[in-house]
């Protein structure tokens, strides 16, 4: 069976489980909204500050929510020996990786749409020059989803998984936070030429970690 059919099979399974259990919709997205709200409480109510730091807060919130999404992605494999099931299934490592990472990416994109709308309305910012913004967001999301899935499988089956993944993942995706925030700032300021280099960096990160994930997922799953 070819790679793309296997990827679609795995991604569809994860997304169908999400559609049934609604964890992203009922828990992860609200978590993101609450974090945005907390930032507003923590910073000076003077809306000038929020407007200036909105991109950074948005992406920090996305990263924190990504920790939950990745955790959930592997929590569903923890029951009923599903990990053994995946190993026995005969599905290849790359397909499993791409399928699970794709499902996480879709959930994160849904979250980002909701959060972006909130940030625009509540923090009072305007999103001009949408093209670099959207492309940068896509690249950043793929990068975070790929790296998260990679560390998710690395820690799968470990009792300390919940506290270990954040410690491992967040330092590694720091460049994504950096690049995505700068790209958004450039888009908000209406200077697309400033954004494109960051979009390029985000794309390189996404491709690189997707490649690493495809290679490493299978071997790591064997040891989980």
């Amino acid at each position: 069976m070819n790679l793309w059919r296997e990827v679609r099979l795995v991604a569809a399974k994860d997304l169908r489980i999400e559609a049934r259990s609604r964890v992203a919709i009922q828990q992860i997205i609200p978590f993101g909204l609450i974090v945005l709200l907390l930032f507003a409480f923590a910073l000076d109510p003077d809306r000038g500050i929020l407007r200036r730091v909105a991109p950074g807060l948005f992406w920090v919130t996305v990263l924190l929510a990504a920790l939950l999404a990745v955790s959930r992605s592997f929590a569903i494999e923890a029951d009923n020996g599903a990990r053994d099931g995946l190993r026995l299934s005969g599905l290849d490592g790359p397909a499993l990786f791409l399928g699970k990472a794709a499902a996480v990416a879709v959930e994160l994109l849904a979250l980002e749409v909701v959060l972006a709308a909130t940030v625009v309305v509540v923090y009072g910012i305007e999103l001009n020059t949408l093209v670099p913004l959207i492309l940068g967001t896509l690249a950043a999301t793929v990068g975070v989803a790929a790296t998260g899935t990679l560390y998710g499988v690395l820690a799968a089956g470990l009792r300390v998984r919940e506290t270990l993944v954040p410690v491992l993942l967040l330092p590694v995706v720091a460049p994504v936070l950096l690049g995505a925030t700068r790209a958004w700032e450039a888009a908000i300021d209406g200077i697309p030429s400033d954004a494109w280099p960051w979009v390029a960096l985000l794309s390189v990160f996404a491709v690189l970690f997707t490649a690493i994930g495809m290679l490493a997922f299978g071997p790591l799953l064997e040891e989980a």
Binding site: M1, E6, L9, K13, R16, I17, R20, S21, I76, D79, N80, G81, A82, D84, G85, R87, L88, S89, G90, L91, E222
Partner: protein, 219 residues
């Protein structure tokens, strides 16, 4: 005829404990081999070793022409394990789980539907896995295995939790295996019952088994 399973002095560790401390085993195509032994003797580990889920620490092992020392993943598409867990997802229905298992193994969804009917799960097809009883899950685990159309069927205490009806269905599956070109290795405590379907019995003691075992008649 090449052996479906061949183990010589197989040693397998669980952590640092030698769950298998020297197993010799042969299984030929179409055989139904009963693995018997006390709790903790190593039957589950043996089946998991054959499924390629645990590495071989020392010794030799070949399953479906794949060397367990170097290629323990290779045979997986052609074998199926019925363990203590169902390998299913609580939020998916019985039918969805079966179709996923079938398609993941490169078979068609029709295989999943066939297994569904054969194990008498038809009326549970649209019930989510999380709501099934223990006995129903057992049947589903066997159905998942069958939907993969395996050449080697590894069954770990499959009768546990099944009612009389379920056992009858399972026995039918096991008995039909040779004519469907499947080999069966069955670990069980229900010796009376299992001996009735098996062609041969191998006793596992303290993680070891040797080739001179009771032959209960030609397969």
């Amino acid at each position: 005829m090449p052996a479906v399973v061949r183990l010589r002095s197989a040693v397998c560790l669980l952590g640092r404990f030698p769950a298998l401390a020297g197993v010799d085993l042969d299984a030929a195509d179409g055989e139904i081999v009963l693995l018997s032994g006390a709790n903790g003797a190593g039957k589950t580990t043996l089946l998991r070793l054959l499924a390629g889920l645990v590495p071989l620490y020392s010794g030799e092992g070949t399953v479906l022409d794949h060397d367990l020392a170097h290629d323990r993943r290779g045979a997986r598409r052609d074998l199926a394990l019925v363990g203590h867990e169902t390998f299913c997802y609580d939020d998916l229905t019985v039918r969805e789980n079966l179709q996923f298992a079938a398609r993941a193994a490169g078979r068609t969804t029709a295989e999943g539907d066939t297994a569904l009917e054969r194990l008498g799960l038809g009326r549970l097809a649209d019930v989510v896995h999380g709501r099934l009883s223990a006995g129903q899950r057992r049947r589903l685990a066997v159905a998942v295995a069958l939907s993969r159309d395996p050449r080697l069927l590894l069954l770990d205490e499959p009768h546990a939790g099944l009612d009389a009806d379920g056992r009858a269905v399972l026995d039918e599956v096991v008995r039909a295996a040779p004519s469907e070109h499947r080999t069966v290795l069955l670990a069980s405590h229900e010796l009376e019952h299992a001996r009735a379907v098996a062609t041969r019995e191998v006793v596992i003691t303290a993680g070891q088994a040797h080739l001179a075992s009771t032959d209960r008649g030609a397969p």
